[in-house]
Symmetry: C2
């Protein structure tokens, strides 16, 4: 589309997924996926958690990351409806069985083989390993609620 002043300020700020248990999903998205926790909004019956990858090379403070929440892309919003953490299995649907809709979120990485080896060491379940199927530079891992996360090679990065 030609550059337009009308939409010049627009950013694809975030994607929201519902999660069963923040005590499981937050460590997954921070320690394993590598995102920073940047903000939390608490309401009477639900809590919203905002996560994003650091873009400052480790220089930004927590306050700067929080202040930047509206002014960037690539934020993941996780919604916890209070009480779901007590359920046995997740009540949530990945979108990839019927009824389909949402498919996945995706992370690009500088070295997809190293990233997948690390996910394997950390015990992350795979939906598709690099060696499965025809597409050998793409894997899919599963988050704690069963959402698919594509892991793909950043073709602009040097391995």
């Amino acid at each position: 589309m030609p550059y337009s002043e009308e939409t010049a300020s627009y950013k694809f700020n975030h994607t929201m997924l519902r999660i069963k248990d923040p005590k499981i999903s937050l460590p997954f998205y921070t320690d394993i996926i590598g995102m920073d926790f940047i903000d939390k909004l608490e309401f009477s019956d639900f809590t919203l958690y905002f996560l994003a990858f650091d873009r400052s090379g480790g220089k930004a403070t927590d306050a700067e990351k929080k202040a930047d929440r509206h002014n960037r892309e690539g934020i993941l919003e996780l919604t916890h409806n209070h009480g779901t953490e007590k359920l046995g299995a997740t009540p949530y649907h990945s979108g990839n069985a019927d009824p389909q809709g949402f498919g996945h979120i995706a992370i690009t990485v500088a070295n997809v083989e190293e990233a997948c080896a690390r996910f394997g060491r950390l015990g992350v379940p795979f939906k598709k390993r690099l060696t499965d199927g025809r597409m050998r530079n793409i894997a899919f891992i599963l988050d704690p609620d069963g959402y698919w996360i594509e892991v793909l090679q950043d073709t602009t990065a040097s391995k």
Copy 2:
């Protein structure tokens, strides 16, 4: 999370949604939402469309936008399974009725009142207008398949 070399290259590259008809969804996401079409991958029974907001102030060429596809955040991937465009209604599920899961994508804008007035002029259906409910700085519009798109004020922008 403390800065880690292991995940320093990771980016939240894209979110994938299935769409019924690219002839309807592509004009929606480009002309109305304001994203650029940046790439397309065609397979025998499906086609992937990649869109993203321009971050160059209109300076980047189409080739530069395409080359940057793996090395940025905020990409929307739309999957068209060939043939769904012939269906009467979308076969896809927004994630907000049962079974729930995915909730929405969100765009931040420099002036949420102006943005919502423009969406109204362009005939976009609203799930929640700014004046509905208690949260007066957030609206939800619906994409052609019924996915929810949150429109929220970028609190760092001057109106």
